[in-house]
Amino acid sequence: MTTLAFALLFVLACTGYVMNRRAAQAIWADGTRLHSLSNFHGLYSLLLVVIPIFVLIILWLLLAPFVINAITVASLPADVMSEASSGQAQLILAEISSIAGGRVFGDPEPWKIDAANRLVFLNEASSYALVAAVVVLGAALAYFARQRVSAEFRARQRVETMVSGLMIFCATVAIFTTIGIIAALVFETWKFFSMVPFTEFLFGLNWEPQIPIREGQIAGAGAFGWLPVILGTLVITAVALIVAVPTGLMSAIYLNEFAPKSVRSVVKPFLEILAGVPTVVYGFFAILVVAPAIRSFGQSIGLDVSPNTALAAGSVMGVMLIPFISSFADDALSAVPNALREGSLAMGATRGEMMTTVLFPAAIPGIVGGVLLAVSRAIGETMIVVMAAGLIAKMTINPLDSVTTVTVQIVTLLIGDTSFDNPKTLAAFALGLMLFLVTLLINVFALRIVRKYREAYD
């Protein structure tokens, strides 16, 4: 039925478009000068029909189930509902809708079957009503649009207004989503801080969040200091950057300035493939290849290396970031005008001197912007560390030790037994909010540098 509604909308919109266009062309054929081209008259009708009806269908689909459920519940025998708790009411409703869907288990009471029949009827009525509403409203709008076709009608301006309204709507979707995410995070974090003191979270050196959710569970006493966790994130990020920044920069410099075309045409696609490898694949690369290699190497020189090291997770994450940094640096270097290269070479600079004295300083703001974006990716990266970093939070900066990260902890806190009135679960939101703030700061910083870089030479 919903498909039918959309199909009718499509037909009405096209009809409106054709009618208006024809009408406008007829006026034009009479020799009158139109204010707007006939195409705009058509588009005016099209948009006037499509936008409101599309919104209507969406709202209908979102709201109708609530209304129907409310009607069904209201018509149930009074004594049943008054005794039921909210959880039981949910169950009854679920049972009724499964009966309505034809799945009858056991021997339901007759009033449930009645309710199910009513539900079926209401659902059907709702879809017919939707189709009827689409047809009536659509025809009315198309008719209205058709009435307005005249030589003086400013269809182009109307169309532009509607289109720019659409664009504004699309642009604000991102804003509202962000605000929604922040609001959800802040709300849950607020609940968390009503259970765990703010100072303990911010300055505590212990992170042992595995407290019992239900009575009788065997678990730790609980400690919620985020410092060891963020320290783990920072250690892994640092390792990743130590791997990624020099390699990425060198490869970009080589590809941009020194590589012959043939090498460039081979290496670039490989870098792009590297960028397309799913992080979960990097994750098992880290556990299966890198971590054992580091471990056996460490043992061979007499070092005590734990099985999950920050070094393994960080260096694999670094490999993941190489194409990112390399492509940013590549863009920054390519953006440097050729005249500067020639100017430098003509002064008798070698290519290396040209690179270090002119190109690199000119490109550095762009490169720094790329590195900072890479930092926020490293901080937010989840899959590799979930697979390859440890779970135990330790106050250590030794990369050969096992560390855990903010993202790993969020994942483990939300996996398995959860309950949203327990500090264990809510701690995930507090960590999420902190992570969000840290990456936001870095991104703002990065964007500023990138913007400054745009002004560097114009």
Partner: protein
């Protein structure tokens, strides 16, 4: 067509030494034959002007003289170019040292996004011309004075060079080029972004430079060629049509194409 050999036999006593000799130079951009059979001798302590219609290969030929064409992948140079008798396209010649000796000013000003001071100090620094800071300061000041821009920038040497006006930027680039004391200075339409006053100053500078160096200047202004140069070469469609004393080119050209160009009928 102009023939360098013939010119040499006619050389009179008192004429200046030859600084650059080019023989049968061909330049190709891929399949585009941009310079055809050009042979020319450029004298020391002289200003030589390259004139000719747009796209005739003046810049291309100029860029052969300091091997800037090496930086263009598709560009191929054939023939023989020697400076002070040494073939600059020889394998043993380091283009980096060559370019330190043959300075260049580009058509479009291209200051580095560094301070005015660092722009001018760039060459002396990479070639190690100054022993200490005060020596470097002197070099920078002298170069800026010769670039006729000292008075305008002496109070803001640490300001970025890209913040200057187009004409100031060009004079900064000239100062940058002369700071390394090159033996040959190649200038590709150095005055196309300058007002008449700055143009006059640059021309004065060129006049002064020719005391010590040989200067090659590409220009679209006949008046400028006539004012600053002693020798003029006229290029047309990749050929060197005529090369002679400036006076002679402008008063009594041998080739009909030269005549129609300088009188404004072609180009």
């Amino acid at each position: 067509m102009y023939d360098a050999d013939q010119n040499r036999t006619e050389r009179k006593v008192g004429q200046k030494d030859i600084k650059i000799t080019a023989r049968d130079v061909q330049v190709y951009y891929g399949t585009n034959h941009a310079i055809k059979d050009v042979s020319v001798e450029i004298e020391d302590k002289t200003v030589t002007a390259f004139i000719g219609p747009s796209g005739c290969g003046k810049s291309t030929f100029l860029r052969c003289l300091n091997r800037m064409n090496d930086t263009i992948d598709i560009c191929r140079v054939e023939g023989n170019i020697a400076i002070d008798g040494e073939d600059i396209y020889d394998r043993r010649v380091d283009p980096v040292q060559l370019r330190a000796k043959v300075g260049m000013v580009f058509q479009k000003p291209n200051p580095f996004p560094k301070s005015i001071y660092d722009n001018v100090a760039y060459g002396p620094k990479i070639h190690g011309l100054a022993k200490n800071k005060s020596e470097l300061d002197d070099i920078v000041e002298r170069a800026l004075r010769r670039g006729a821009i000292w008075d305008e920038v002496k109070d803001r040497l640490q300001a970025p060079g890209t913040g200057l006006s187009g004409g100031q930027q060009q004079r900064l680039c000239i100062a940058r080029a002369v700071a390394t004391e090159p033996e040959v200075l190649l200038m590709d339409e150095p005055c196309s972004a300058l007002d008449p006053i700055a143009t006059g100053q640059v021309e004065e500078l060129i006049d002064e430079l020719k005391q010590n160096y040989s200067v090659v200047i590409v220009t679209h202004s006949m008046q400028q060629a006539a004012r600053v140069s002693q020798k003029t070469a006229f290029f047309h469609l990749g050929n060197l049509v005529e090369y002679d004393d400036t006076e002679k080119i402008f008063t009594n050209p041998q080739d009909s194409r030269t005549e129609s160009y300088i009188t404004g009928r072609i180009g």
